[in-house]
Symmetry: C2
Subunit: 211 residues, 2 copies
Amino acid sequence: MFSPKFDELVQRLRILPGVGPKSAQRIALQLLARNRTGAQALAHALNDAVLHIQHCTVCRSLAESDICDICASPQRDQTLLCVVESAADVAAIEHSGGFRGRYFVLGGHLSPLDGIGPDEIGIPLLMSRLKAEPIEELILATNATVEGQATAHYLQAAWQSLSQLESTAVNGRKMPLKITRIAQGVPQGGELEYVDSHTLSQALQYRLTVR
Amino acid sequence: MFSPKFDELVQRLRILPGVGPKSAQRIALQLLARNRTGAQALAHALNDAVLHIQHCTVCRSLAESDICDICASPQRDQTLLCVVESAADVAAIEHSGGFRGRYFVLGGHLSPLDGIGPDEIGIPLLMSRLKAEPIEELILATNATVEGQATAHYLQAAWQSLSQLESTAVNGRKMPLKITRIAQGVPQGGELEYVDSHTLSQALQYRLTVR
Ligand SMILES: [Zn+2]
Ligand SMILES: [Zn+2]
């Protein structure tokens, strides 16, 4: 439609999540008709982000410099380390406001069939942090999916075998590390009749004593 | 979150239709985590489109050169001219496959309160085309909205007063031009009980004799 550069734009817009051929054309037309300045600013921001945003060398989250703001902040509790699958999870937890520790971003989960093993999700870096930093609790906040659970189990086992291998003290501090897993259960506002049965059985199994 | 360039990207993504702050962040994270090459290609396509796609000097639709493919094509029926509000309408009609004439894109509708008068929607150019080209039928395909209807009425009146002013023949060809309006009615598959009452009354008023 219209011209090759128009078709090219429509095609490229389809990398955006949820954008099919029809909405890509609609977006292209809207930008060209009503917001050419905005389209150029978006192009600039995309390029700038891709060129300058890399991964934090400490936690593998997103950062413009070698070390991200969270890792660099003296305000964050160095004794708590929360392992998540993606930077999006960091954003979600930060947004919840309920966590003042630091993070480690796996960048995925173990998936042997796809060639994603411990090295690909940064396990060696995580283990060296656990040995070198004054971390007291490791919170496993991988997704509540089969893959996320399997990855959490692997992390726990990996730390156990490492701590046994290196005797009872690593880098001068006492083992064992406390390892926790985020709670699974009925979401806030969730009506039981609409909650899936797996979630419900988990919620029952991990029930809390309230009095 | 993360860095200034990340926040800038999130902000710029919000020019996309239907993208709020949460989905803008989700899109930014997905692009940075999974498709940096695609993000750069999109940036390039956006810039390229803005810099090279202009308006056709004949029909005001989108084109990379002075004259768009439709206006330049000898295959299109020069006796039919369809007036639409936007290039998106050209795309929709082309997609329907039911029209082999040419177009004129107003780029909006009359809106005196917003300072959008006949000059802003290209009426002088349209009138000069009606005088110079072998157009036999002018199809008013502005939107079925109050503004679209008012604009269609204005176009009809503008042509009538021009043709009276310039006597019965303009540029050697006979007046009057046949002027039509696209049909309004119940959409294909529309169930009467869910069709709005205005559409229904229009559909009844413009009913067709079938036998
Ligand atoms: Zn970091
Ligand atoms: Zn044209």
